[in-house]
Amino acid sequence: MLRFLLQRLALLATTLVVASFAIYSALYAAPGNPIATLTGGRTPTPEAIAVLEARYHLNDPFLVRYWDWLVGALHGDLGVSIPLHQEVSTLIGERIGTTAALVAYAAVIILVVGVGLGILGALRPGAVDGAVIVFTTISAALPSFVASIVLLLVFAVNLGWFPAFGTGTGVVDGFRHLTLPACALALTSIALVARITRAAVRDELGREHVQTAISRGIPFPAVVRRHVLRNAAIPITTVAGLTIASLIALSSVVERAFALNGLGSYLVQAALSKDFAVVQGISLVLVVAFVVVNVIVDLLYATLDPRVALGSRAT
């Protein structure tokens, strides 16, 4: 188990180094001149340029700049936004809560509704299963921006149940404001998770060891809980985990549609205004979050399946 853990941590570190390098170099190579951004289009004097270059280390070699940035990032210093003259970490800090809450809320919806529907479909063939299939087919076909618009129109504009825009103030109001965005973000993934769950539960139900349990007079609900769901949890965890990790990237679409001041929408805004330090910073945070969620899924997987943790060959 320890060995497994160390392996995963080594992999995590490698992934982060590679990803951070990719992020940094992609933006380094991107078109646009930071000096022009800084001076707002006016032609600066050569002295002014020199001062700015020195302050933002614009003349250092690429690898040195990457290294400085990485070391800074490890200390929580992501540099300064040139157009806004503010610490990137502060800018991110102001918005990370919204995105984290949105993704967490959507994750809970995905797990509860997706896994729930999948189990229902697998255990109740016929009408219930048919309804699950119809629902997942429709929701799988809806891209999140379409889902956002539909939900906005129906529940915010027509029914007026939920607010259409903004983050709200306080916990309860915040929840109300995040409900529609979280649903829009979750909808496509619910379909995927429901289908995987349905297939996994079906699969397990047909397994011989389930028959053994039945042949021993264990009540069916206990068989389902102890043998079917317990085993189906292995593939479900993997898929649900990856799906939830992918929400981190998808959140920008929904944040923009619902005018939420989160990292995703800010990333798009920063990219449009060529605010490189912010783009780099947010990208790094998103990648770290993605990788960390993946590692958690891996560890969960290993805890759920004893054959993985021990690394032995099961036949």
Partner: protein, 329 residues
């Protein structure tokens, strides 16, 4: 001997691609309390389906005809808690122990599950009993084994765990469906000996399913031979070999290269075994039988009682005594 299990004219159809396909036809078999009965036949003859029907483990949408009684109870009518209690009295040992144990649960959990959830035993007591039974099946370090997972045990070890688990709830009937076929020869003999010993100690009735006529004879008082979803012969095991009543049994005897026999290479039964749904109008064995005539092709034979045995063959009486010779080459 009073009958513990009575199977009467059992017929089973399974749903295959929308159609109902017959897999068992008119199967009648009785097992007395503490009696061991062998069920022998080639692949697809319906041995497993018979055992599954007894334990009510048939696939969904199966149609069942006839009657099964256990200790006077109508097995086919059991529902809910009564069915679960019945399953506690009838234990099933499957062929593939590995597939039949949950890979993510420990041996301890697997063994004590019924005791804890159904018999409401406390965990330490359930584990104590499990360790004791493991010792009886020749697994000494039971305490350690309980903490392991199925993939950490060899096939033979796992099958012994299966047998111990089956006996843990003190059943009255054991359904053993080829419990040793998946094991290598030495392990096979060990597991068989353990199963036989424990069964006799406990006066446990046994339905022992195997391909192997001689193995059935070694373990069982009586053996039933199945062909194409029907029982074609039933007899005291020691008589099957030298005095078979059905041409198919004689063929099985001849096809087995016996270690004890000094006879030269023996003939196999020509043709391939049929499943019940493929069987022709008349005698199911007619296409492969050296004694078949028009009567055999035209009408399905009934079971005829001969001495202490029974055979499903038009010419059983006439052929008596000549069958054992017929296949020798």
């Amino acid at each position: 001997m009073t009958a513990l299990l009575e199977i009467e004219q059992l017929g089973v159809d399974l749903a295959v691609e929308g159609a109902q396909r017959t897999v068992l036809r008119d199967v009648s078999l009785t097992i007395g309390a503490g009696e061991a009965v062998g069920l022998v036949g080639e692949s697809g003859s319906g041995k497993s389906m018979t055992a599954r029907a007894v334990d009510r483990l048939l696939p969904a949408r199966a149609t069942v005809r006839g009657a099964i009684r256990f200790d006077g109870r109508d097995v086919l009518a059991l529902r809910g808690a009564a069915l679960r209690d019945y399953r506690g009295e009838v234990a099933f040992v499957f062929q593939d122990a590995r597939a039949h144990t949950n890979p993510v649960r420990t041996i301890g959990d697997f063994m004590t599950e019924t005791l804890r959830t159904q018999r409401k035993l406390r965990r330490p007591e359930a584990r104590r009993r499990a360790v004791a039974l493991l010792a009886e099946v020749g697994i000494e370090d039971g305490e350690r084994r309980l903490g392991q997972h199925p993939h950490e045990l060899s096939g033979g070890m796992l099958q012994r765990v299966m047998i111990a688990t089956a006996l843990l709830t003190e059943p009255r009937l054991l359904l053993a469906d080829e419990p040793t076929t998946a094991l290598d020869v030495t392990t096979q003999a060990e597991v068989m000996a353990i199963l036989d010993d424990l069964r006799r100690d406990r006066e446990l009735a046994l339905l022992f399913i195997t391909h192997d006529l001689e193995l059935a004879g070694a373990v069982c008082d009586r053996t039933a031979v199945m062909y194409a979803g029907q029982i074609v012969e039933q007899r005291a095991s020691h008589l099957l070999h030298d005095d078979p009543l059905h041409p198919y049994t004689a063929g099985l005897v001849a096809a087995r290269p016996s270690i004890s026999s000094t006879s030269p290479r023996l003939a196999a039964i020509p043709g391939r075994p049929l499943s019940a749904f493929e069987a022709p109008e008349g005698c199911a064995f007619a296409p492969r039988c050296g004694h078949a005539d028009e009567v055999c092709v035209a009408t399905r034979p009934d079971v005829a009682t001969i001495d202490e045995g029974a055979a499903r063959c038009h010419h059983a009486v006439a052929l008596r005594g000549r069958l054992a010779e017929a296949f020798r080459v």
